[in-house]
C-alpha cells in the first residue's frame, strides 16, 4: 500500500495555515487542497493523513471531503470534466451535454476512461449560470456555452495534452434602440 506523508516543508506550511485561524478545524479545506495537489487525490488514506496532521476526527475530514466534488475521493483521470447539472445549466441543456460526453467517451458520470485520460462528474452549481451550459476541467478552466461541436473540439484539444484556452466573457452592452 502506498504510504502518504507530508515532508518537513509542507508541515511548516501547514503550521502557517493553521496559524491563520482560531482553531485547526478551519484549516481542513486548505490542507485537503494541498494534499490533493501533491497526491492528485484525497483517497481515504490521504484523508487520514490530513486528520492526523490537524488532530481532527477522521469522520469530520471525510465529511468535508465528501461535500465538495472538487476533492477527488479516488484516483481520477488526467482531465476531470465537471459538467454542471444544477438548475440554470439543466434548463439550458446541461444534461444533454453530460449525456453527449458520456456517449462520446463511453463512460458514465463518476467513471474514468480505461486509458486514465478522462473522468466525468456531474456537479452542482459552479457559479457560471450566465454562460450555461458549462463545464470545468480539472478544477481549472471553465468551458462555457457548451454545444456538441464545442465539446468535440475541447476533447480533441485535451487529447493532444493541451488545456483549452481561457474564454473571456464579453460584457453585454444594452442594445441601442
Amino acid at each position: 500500500m502506498e504510504k502518504f506523508e507530508f515532508n518537513k516543508a509542507e508541515r511548516d506550511h501547514i503550521e502557517k495555515i493553521i496559524a491563520r485561524y482560531p482553531d485547526s478545524q478551519s484549516a481542513v479545506m486548505p490542507v485537503l487542497w494541498m494534499a490533493q495537489e501533491k497526491f492528485g487525490h484525497v483517497e481515504p488514506d490521504v484523508q487520514k493523513l490530513v486528520a492526523k496532521t490537524l488532530d481532527l476526527p477522521e469522520a469530520h475530514v471525510y465529511g468535508v471531503a465528501s461535500f465538495y466534488t472538487q476533492y477527488y475521493k479516488e484516483k481520477m483521470g488526467k482531465y476531470v470534466l465537471d459538467v454542471c447539472t444544477c438548475l440554470s445549466c439543466q434548463v439550458c441543456g446541461g444534461y444533454d451535454m453530460l449525456h453527449y460526453i458520456e456517449e462520446k467517451l463511453g463512460i458514465k458520470a463518476g467513471e474514468t476512461t480505461e486509458d486514465g485520460m478522462f473522468s466525468i462528474q456531474s456537479v452542482e452549481c459552479l457559479g457560471a449560470c450566465g454562460y450555461a451550459p458549462m463545464m470545468q476541467i480539472t478544477n481549472d478552466i471553465y468551458v462555457n456555452h457548451l454545444d456538441k461541436a464545442k465539446v468535440d473540439k475541447v476533447i480533441e484539444t485535451l487529447k493532444q495534452g493541451k488545456m483549452p484556452e481561457f474564454e473571456p466573457i464579453p460584457m453585454r452592452v444594452a442594445e441601442k434602440s
Binding site: 487520514k48 476526527p57 469522520a59 469530520h60 471525510y62 465528501s66
Partner: protein
C-alpha cells in the same frame, strides 16, 4: 422578574432560557426534531418556528412605547424564528402555531420539505409508534405531498457498527447522532457526508461505529434512520409496556426503562435522570435483558445423589429448615450479594440473626480497568453499597473463597451471586457442606448447590439498590411471575396488549412466567413455617422498617424515591465499609 408572553399568556422566567425549552417546561407543545436538551443547538430542522417580537423601548422617556390602545408597540422579527435557538428576553412576545396562521403554515411547509425524500415505509419501520416525524406529521403536517418526482435513493441497511444499522433514506439530517458522538461520548466517529439531498451520517471510510455508547444515537434519532441491530424487527412499540427500572450491570445506577411483551423483556432503554445518567446508557447494559429472559431458574430444586431434581416449594422450605437445624449457628456462612436488592439482603441478615448468626459476608465484584469516566464502572454489581450500608463484611472474592473453604463451615447460604462462576472459589470448595443458592439464573453456583431457590430478578420485584455515589433508587415489577398479575398489582404497567388482548388472541401468551418469589418472601415463609413472627407483606414495608432501624436510611421510602428520582443517602450517616 422578566416576563414573556406566549400566545397572549404571561409567564415569568429566570436566567436566559431558550424559548423552545421554556415553552416545553411550561407543559406546552412545540414541534421539533434536531433540538435535544443535552446537546448543542444547530437549529437545522426548522420545525420549531415561532413568530417573535420585542417591545419598543424609548430611552428618552425610559418606558415602553404604547399604541393608541395603550398596548405596547411590538417590533416583530421580520421572519419566523427557530425557538430552540432564540433566547428569551424581557417583554418578548411569542406566537406559536396556536395563535398564528403564519407559524402553522411554516411548520406545515417545513414538514412537506422534510418529507420530500423520506420513504413512507412506516409499516415496516421500527421507529413507527415512537417516531417524532410520524407524530408531528399527523399533528402539524400537510395531508399529502405535492412532490411528484422520484425520491432520492440512498444506502439502506448499512451496518455502521456492531450495534447500529443505518437506513440513510429515512434520515432527515438533524445531526443529533453526530452531535452525540462529538459532545457526549466524544468518540467523534460520525459525520454528515456528501451534499444536498444526498447527505446522511456515516463513519470515516474503513472505520466502524464501535462507540461503547452507540445505541444512544438510536434513541435520539427522531426518525427510523438509526436502528438497533439487536432489537430490529423484534416488536412494535405499541405491543410493549414500559416500566421504569435500574440497570443491574454496574454500580452507576443508570435509570432504565424495561419494554415488556408477553412477559419477555424485549429491550432496555435509558430513562432520564439528571443526577445519574442524564439521557444515556452504555450499549453493554442494554444486553442485560437476556439475563432477565433466558436461562432462568424456575421452581426450586434439590440435589439427590449428585443430581438436581425439581421439587415443590414446600419441600424446599422443609429441607432448608431441617438443614439449618442440623448445624450450629457458628457453622453457617451467610453470603449476601451486591447483585441483590437492599430488601433481600436486609431480610437475609435479619433471618440469620434470629438463628444466631451475627455476621453476613459479601464479595465485591470489581473488574479493574472496565470502567470509564462516564457510565461504565469497574464495579459490576449494582448494590455493593447496599451491602456495605447494611453492615455486611466485605471481602475480595478470593478472601471469601478462603472463608467458604474453612473446615468449621458446615452450611453455606448464598444469595443471588454466581460466586463459583466468577471465580471466587471452585465448586469443590463447597463439597460436603450443605449449600443453599437463592438465585435468578442457572449458573455454576446453582449447579453446585444442594438446594436451589428461584428468586425474582430486578424486573420482577419492587426493590431498592444503592449506587456507587450512595444514591438509593428502586425498581418496579415489569414482568409477571407465576404468582403475580398485572391486573392485580396496581404498580405494574399495562400495555395495549395487556389491556385489550384476551387469552384467545393468538398474539397473547401466558408463557414466559418464571416460578419464583422474592428472596425475602421465601425467608419469611421459612419463619412462618416454624411458627415465627417475621411478617412483611411487601418490600415497601421492609424499606420502611430499614428506614426506621438504620441511621443511614433514615427518611427513605419508596414514595420519596419515586418522587425525587432516587435519594442520595446522607454522607454523614454513611458507615465506613467493614473489611477483613
Amino acid at each position: 422578574m422578566p416576563e414573556i408572553f406566549i400566545d397572549d399568556q404571561r409567564f415569568e422566567f429566570e436566567g436566559n432560557p431558550k424559548v423552545l425549552q421554556f415553552v416545553l417546561d411550561q407543559g406546552l407543545e412545540l414541534p421539533f426534531f434536531c433540538y435535544h436538551p443535552s446537546l448543542s443547538i444547530p437549529a437545522n430542522c426548522r420545525q420549531c418556528f415561532v413568530e417573535a417580537g420585542t417591545p419598543v423601548f424609548n430611552r428618552e422617556t425610559n418606558s415602553y412605547e404604547l399604541d393608541e390602545n395603550g398596548d405596547r408597540v411590538i417590533r416583530w422579527f421580520p421572519k419566523l424564528m427557530t425557538s430552540c435557538s432564540l433566547e428569551a428576553t424581557d417583554g418578548m412576545v411569542i406566537k406559536t402555531h396556536r395563535s398564528s396562521e403564519k407559524v402553522a403554515r411554516g411548520q406545515k411547509d417545513t414538514l412537506e420539505f422534510i418529507l420530500i425524500n423520506h420513504p413512507l415505509d412506516c409499516p415496516i419501520c421500527d421507529q413507527a409508534g415512537e417516531c417524532p416525524l410520524q407524530i408531528q406529521t399527523y399533528k402539524y403536517g400537510p395531508e399529502g405531498s405535492r412532490f411528484e418526482h422520484k425520491k432520492v435513493h440512498k444506502p439502506k441497511r448499512v451496518q455502521l457498527g456492531p450495534n447500529v444499522v443505518l437506513d440513510a433514506e429515512r434520515c432527515i439530517n438533524c445531526t443529533r447522532c453526530v452531535r452525540f458522538t462529538d459532545e457526549i461520548s466524544k468518540s467523534k466517529q460520525l459525520s454528515i457526508v456528501s451534499r444536498g439531498d444526498k447527505n446522511y451520517p456515516l463513519t470515516a471510510p474503513g472505520t466502524e461505529f464501535d462507540d461503547p455508547y452507540s445505541l444512544n444515537t438510536v434513541d435520539i434519532c427522531p426518525v427510523g434512520a438509526l436502528t438497533s441491530t439487536d432489537f430490529r424487527f423484534k416488536a412494535r412499540v405499541w405491543e410493549m409496556n414500559q416500566t421504569p427500572g435500574i440497570d443491574m450491570t454496574g454500580s452507576k445506577g443508570t435509570n432504565i426503562d424495561l419494554w415488556v411483551r408477553n412477559n419477555l423483556v424485549m429491550r432496555i432503554t435509558p430513562r432520564y435522570n439528571p443526577d445519574v445518567n442524564d439521557h444515556w446508557m452504555p450499549d453493554e447494559a442494554r444486553k442485560d435483558y437476556r439475563r432477565i429472559n433466558e436461562n432462568r431458574i424456575s421452581r426450586p430444586s434439590i440435589k439427590l445423589d449428585g443430581e438436581q431434581v425439581k421439587t415443590s416449594w414446600n419441600n424446599a422450605m422443609l429441607t432448608f429448615n431441617e438443614e439449618t437445624g442440623k448445624v450450629k449457628p457458628s457453622e453457617i456462612l451467610v453470603i449476601g450479594s451486591p447483585h441483590a436488592s437492599v430488601e433481600d439482603n436486609y431480610v437475609l441478615s435479619k433471618f440469620f440473626n434470629r438463628l444466631g448468626v451475627s455476621d453476613v459476608h459479601f464479595a465485591n465484584d470489581i473488574e479493574k480497568g472496565r470502567g470509564d469516566d462516564f457510565l461504565i464502572t469497574d464495579d459490576r454489581a449494582p448494590n455493593a453499597n447496599g451491602c456495605r450500608f447494611l453492615g455486611f463484611t466485605e471481602h475480595d472474592p478470593a478472601a471469601l473463597g478462603k472463608a467458604v473453604s474453612a473446615s468449621g463451615v458446615k452450611m453455606v447460604v448464598i444469595l443471588g451471586d454466581d460466586l463459583i462462576g466468577r471465580g471466587a472459589f471452585p465448586a469443590e470448595a463447597v463439597q460436603g457442606k450443605f449449600t443453599v443458592f437463592m438465585g435468578t439464573n442457572n449458573c455454576d453456583t446453582s449447579n453446585a448447590a444442594n438446594l436451589v431457590v428461584p428468586i425474582t430478578c430486578s424486573a420482577e420485584h419492587a426493590a431498592s439498590y444503592i449506587n456507587e455515589a450512595g444514591r438509593i433508587q428502586r425498581t418496579i415489577p415489569a414482568k409477571e411471575t407465576v404468582y403475580t398479575s398485572r391486573r392485580l398489582n396496581l404498580e405494574m404497567s399495562l400495555g395495549r396488549l395487556d389491556h385489550f388482548a384476551t387469552k384467545f388472541d393468538n398474539w397473547e401468551s401466558d408463557d414466559n412466567k418464571v416460578d419464583c418469589i422474592p428472596a425475602w418472601e421465601f425467608l419469611i415463609r421459612l419463619v412462618q413455617e416454624t411458627g415465627g413472627d417475621l411478617t412483611y407483606t411487601s418490600s415497601r414495608e421492609i424499606m420502611d422498617e430499614i428506614a426506621s432501624a438504620i441511621d443511614t436510611f433514615s427518611g427513605v421510602s419508596f414514595e420519596r424515591m419515586d418522587d425525587e428520582y432516587g435519594i442520595p443517602l446522607k454522607k454523614e450517616n454513611q458507615p465506613q465499609g467493614k473489611t477483613v
